[in-house]
Symmetry: C2
Subunit: 549 residues, 2 copies
């Protein structure tokens, strides 16, 4: 019984209130807010932009996620009396007391957020969010918004890459909770890896809150907790007589050993007991882990014997899990034995048993797995997926681009770190096949580019200008928050998940290949390019230097 | 006003209840619990151990953290009616309804936890926690306990390494919230990096909840939000007349340019306006970021001018922050100018200004910084610290070692992955200088080793046995939870932080060096070594194989 979407939204809003109070931010946001307030500038209209400078994992694209959480954060933004008292204790004693009254009354009613929709394919250096409002307020929002967007986008992008590496048909199971960076890291990972393309999670709370399908059967500890068949002799429900099942299974085991040339003396009794007790508990959900001792000498035989006994009794066993060693090689051998059993013992359902593989899977090993012969139907991924070992942080930044209608720009010795000034509109130009061709940043007052009309622009990081004729033009960002209200309905996670796959499908293969992708073009309009040049030359009013004489 | 410890504990307990419900676990814990229950084994006394197999970051030691959170989790463990209804919806329909009644009544009153105390120096393969209790219950705890311990220990160990790399005197500031793996990842990081050796955090909520000193002054956006000196002319309090300060500062700037041979035309007016307005707001806390445009041509001159004006007016400026480029080289130049000003303008406090460095600092760059000439007093560290880029997951595991008094062992093709069976006692043997010499794992029924008496043991990973005579013997684990109660007072974070530094100091330099440390010896008692050999040979009752004939 998955939670309905409205209930999930309520739970998420409660969770955001508890986990992301406006105090979850850097102290300097408050010291700056006070300095703005003290110089009477706190209500000046300002515009910040949120973006990242490089696509993660050496890739050619990313997925933008966490927008919904940001909206719930904005809607609930406000300081408690206790918060304000704490702030008073850490700011210098000379801080004007009226500032704390200002903080008490603060909310986001003056803030307007324009954002790329949740779960959209995006590219480096495109401003994904525009946060406009009173200078002191939009400054205060920086750290919390970055924190909500950075990891959600990173782990969603990571999941999308695992999905590309795995191919469209293999089922993917997320099981990283125990290795995640904290409990909430685990929950966030389960949610956004599902949106990014995973099918299931092992995380029960994620299933409970977000309606993600949950999966899992048994750990090695279950297997090793059994020592002998005597331990299966005490079913609580008393409906089935396990003694019969034991005799039946032992008989089958004998025939299996003959068929496969296996040694009965190497078969672990405890493992058989574990499988039997599990099969008694879940006759319709029998999928044990078969490598606690030895797959070939014990686990596979015990599985086949119990599964055959189950199917004789009219049940449908599901399959096996492999959790160590060479998963591909073992899966091929396991499948061979399944087919042999299906034929030899005339049990057709043995043809359709599933094989689950879990063993420290990385994007690299997922790609290798796809190249090698294997019979794995479901892959479980944990640590590398949820902690994003290859690049554990996305590096989103939040930069001031306009104050009181005047463009602002940060220079830097490193040109990559300079910002693009001004309040903007962002368009995605599509080619005749519907593939994204180029993202165009314009000043917000410029007329939008028109489909079928050639326009001139300056690709970022290049000197030359480019003439381009889009077949279609879409506006990349939407107004999603204004006057204290969320102004667009929140898509459900399921809708987001569908959108991810559709947008990735729509992406040119040159940009979506996992290794050495071709960079996607992000360009400035002529006007924007000219403004930057003026500011750099100091001929714009925005590049004012101080003449001390 | 830092929160008192008892208040912090209450907040932490609330936070654990909200963030770590018992549903934050893997589904297979429930499917196994049902299978145990169904075969009548759920109340069998069982013992699990929690440990990790390798010290993180290629190091020779780790810090064990997260125990307090585990205790609060255990004390609050219990399912709501809503939880149970969800579980009923995801388990197979044939699941016996009486099992859900069993879940409703479940708590940790039967669980005993023995653990290494919070914030202790520990080593790979030593069982850090022993969780004993009814089989189904202690199985259900696995994922949550791992999740609480894994990241806390990892990030605390990372902080301790940064502290070693930085040396004892440099102040360390954690500022990773915006890049952390989710909001809670950020909060956990702030707390455990403080325990691991950081002095301050930028995270206000962490200061509020845990009493960690908070720090921070301004971002580049503050500087670039100002365009001209007119923007400082509107102080809210009206007490000071900023026009005077502007004239005063401009006069000083002229003299500074002469002294340093700088060009007035390259000095940014907006930057000066930003510094002035900040100085007006915080005359006693003036520490601006000086590289928004150019340190040498603008930022340093503007800082010195405003700082000198402040000191003429009787205030004490604090220093500067450098946030890009070669921090060491720049800090040396900045210090030279400070000293020159101190002498030339007779302002002694310019001798004691502090320099804060922040620019994507890693453990590697911290070590390099320590080797090069530099004048940095405070280092701020973000991404690499909180996301542990070098190894973003610790890899703690939770293994069954005993059921109904019988030792259990998991074999593996990879000897490193085999478990050490049996309920144990763990001792730390110290040498005559008080350095930890060896951690000894014994069976719990063995008499403890005695100081001054030679004992024989088997170091893990080696074949040969070892004779050793400890000067002192300490029992490494304590009973911390029993009969539903926390049985030891929780140390405050401040006490834990002190303990970390003391324990690391006490560690032999061979084990604590950051690169190529000498492995610390962890050994098995003769009895334990013999038990493993027996189980492997199958002569112990625990290695039972199935004879099918």
């Amino acid at each position: 019984m998955a939670a309905p979407w409205s209930k999930a939204c309520e739970a998420m809003e409660r969770s955001i209130r508890a986990r992301v109070p406006p105090m979850l931010t850097d102290l300097y946001q408050f010291t700056m807010a006070y300095a703005y307030w003290n110089s009477g500038r706190h209500n000046e209209p300002a515009v910040f932009e949120l973006f990242f400078r490089e696509n993660p994992f050496g890739g050619g694209f990313s997925l933008f996620s966490g927008v919904h959480d940001c909206l719930l954060f904005l809607r609930n933004f406000g300081f408690t009396e206790e918060d304000v008292e704490y702030l008073r204790s850490v700011l210098p004693p000379a801080t004007n007391p009226a500032f704390f009254q200002f903080l008490r009354e603060l909310d986001c009613s003056g803030v307007t957020l324009r954002a790329v929709p949740e779960a959209t394919v995006v590219f480096a250096r495109v401003p994904l969010m525009e946060v406009a409002g009173p200078l002191a307020v939009v400054q205060l929002l920086e750290t919390s918004l970055l924190c909500l967007v950075n990891y959600a986008s990173l782990v969603c992008s990571n999941a999308a890459r695992f999905r590309l590496a795995a191919g469209p048909d293999r089922k993917l199971l997320e099981l990283g909770l125990r290795r995640a960076q904290g409990p909430d890291g685990g929950l966030t990972a389960s949610r956004y890896t599902h949106i990014g393309g995973f099918d299931m999670t092992s995380n029960v709370q994620a299933g409970f809150l977000f309606g993600i399908p949950v999966a899992g059967t048994m750990a090695h500890s279950y297997v090793t907790s059994f020592n002998s068949l005597e331990e299966t002799l005490r079913p609580a429900d008393g409906e089935k007589d396990p003694i019969d099942l034991i005799s039946l299974t032992k008989g089958i085991l004998g025939r299996l050993c003959e068929l496969l040339g296996a040694e009965p003396a190497k078969i672990h009794e405890g493992e058989l007991a574990a499988f039997l007790s599990y099969a008694i508990a879940y006759p319709g959900n029998f999928l044990p882990v078969i490598d606690s001792y030895s797959v070939n000498c014990s686990g596979l035989l015990n599985f086949c014997a119990v599964a055959m006994a189950l199917s004789e009794l009219g049940h449908r066993p599901r399959g096996v899990r492999l959790d160590s060693g060479d998963l591909c090689r073992q899966s091929v051998e396991v499948r061979r034995v399944f087919k042999l059993c299906a034929k030899h013992f005339s049990i057709p359902l043995f043809e359709s048993l599933i094989i689950v593989g879990t063993n420290n899977i990385s994007e690299q090993s997922m790609m290798e797995l796809n190249k090698k012969e294997n019979e794995i139907n479901v892959v479980g991924v944990g640590t590398h997926l949820v902690t994003c070992t290859r690049q554990p942080s996305l590096g989103c930044v939040y930069k001031l681009v306009e104050v009181r209608g005047n463009p602002r720009m940060k220079f830097s010795e490193d040109p990559e770190k300079s910002t693009v000034p001004g309040k903007k509109a962002v368009y995605r130009l599509l080619d005749s096949e519907g593939h994204p061709l180029l993202d165009l940043l314009c000043l917000s007052e410029e007329p939008p580019p028109q489909a079928g009309q050639t326009l001139s622009c300056y690709p970022l990081g290049q000197e030359a200008h480019l003439a381009i004729t889009p077949t279609q033009v879409t506006c990349l960002r939407q107004e999603v928050f204004s006057k204290g209200q969320i102004t667009q309905p929140l898509c459900s996670d399921a809708e987001c998940r569908d959108k991810v796959q559709r947008s990735i499908q729509n992406l040119d293969p040159r940009h979506k290949r996992l290794q050495d992708p071709e960079p996607y073009t992000v360009a400035l309009s002529d006007k924007l390019h000219k403004l930057i040049a003026e500011i750099r030359r100091g001929t714009s009013a925005e590049g004012k230097f101080l003449l001390t004489n």
